[in-house]
């Protein structure tokens, strides 16, 4: 039991507790904040494991960006502030989920612990920025470049999806190929999305239209 072990135990237990609270909290904003705690503590875990750069990225990207995004989304979707029971699935489903979660933990933990045994101790790795930079731009240059394309594509996709559709600008589907002259019902098929304030329909609305091919729905 070294000092590092103690520090690690602190961070790890905080992260684990934060994770458990984040998935069980019945308060949406709290859930997001518990996630911040869990991911922030993970940065500490990375530090103990001598992955300085990873810890930095974790703080910057996760705590700084991802959680903010989540909070924004919660606000934009008018998630109720306060304790709500309808965040979780039905009790039966939750039990199934708990069994699945426990099984996952047991399988992964059991296999890892069996392989690790009782004596294995690890030295601190080399997680300096210089080492990581060199590695990224030599051995890992291909995934790095692919990642840049991925980020660009995700950006384009997010913008394109969230741009919304104006009545006068045709979207992917309802622009009839080459014009509307040869279509039977150019406009009738494009059921405009329900306005944001409309209540959720009790039954799926017009499901048969939902399978409309491109061009009609």
């Amino acid at each position: 039991m070294t000092a590092l072990d103690v520090v690690f135990a602190l961070f790890a237990s905080t992260a684990a507790a934060g994770a458990l609270l984040a998935v069980t909290s019945r308060h949406v904003v709290h859930a997001a904040l518990w996630l911040v705690l869990a991911l922030g503590s993970l940065a500490g875990v990375y530090l103990v494991l001598a992955a300085e750069v990873v810890a930095l990225v974790q703080v910057l990207v996760y705590v700084g960006a991802v959680v903010v995004l989540v909070l924004f989304a919660l606000m934009l979707t008018r998630a109720p502030i306060g304790v709500r029971a309808d965040l979780d699935a039905a009790p039966g489903r939750r039990r199934v989920a708990a069994v699945a979660g426990l099984a996952t933990s047991a399988l992964i933990g059991g296999t890892l612990l069996a392989a690790i045994g009782s004596t294995a101790e690890v030295p601190a790795g080399d997680g300096t920025a210089s080492a990581l930079g060199s590695a990224t731009f030599t051995g890992w240059v291909l995934p790095f470049e692919l990642l840049s394309v991925l980020l660009l594509a995700a950006l384009v996709a997010a913008i394109a999806i969230s741009r919304g559709r104006d009545a006068d600008t045709p979207g992917l589907d309802d622009l009839a190929p080459g014009g509307t002259a040869d279509r039977a019902d150019p406009g009738a098929g494009s059921a405009a999305p329900a306005p944001a304030a409309a209540p959720a329909p009790a039954t799926p609305a017009a499901p048969s239209r939902a399978v409309g091919p491109d061009g009609t729905s």
Partner: protein, 138 residues
Amino acid sequence: MIHLAGPALLVAVLAGAGVYGVLARRNAVLVLIGAELLLAAAGVLFVLGTALPAGGLGSPGLLDPTISARPADPLVSGQVATIMLITIAAAEIGLALAVVLLLFRARATSDLTAVRELGEASPSYTDHPDAVTGGSLP
């Protein structure tokens, strides 16, 4: 030097919590929190992998203390993988939130149980509607 069992346990707990979070939530945004935890578990595992000497758990140096530890992985594979994983997760969550917003705009809800008209149990896909009980599955 820290004991390996700690990080391993952390991985197991995070993965389990992530799986529970994904399956037990019905708010589309909260499901994403579970998914993030699952990815975080994988990140810890990667970093743990780099902390081991070359050859991983199977390397002789790890199990036999008399052999001096072999040099660490010069490509720092695990840490690079973690960073990339974090980046992918960020890209994914951005896209996911855009989709959730789109869903919210179209159906005024982000409750996954309320929007399932694409499913097989939806009456429009059954050849004999009376043979299938509608959409009231849990």
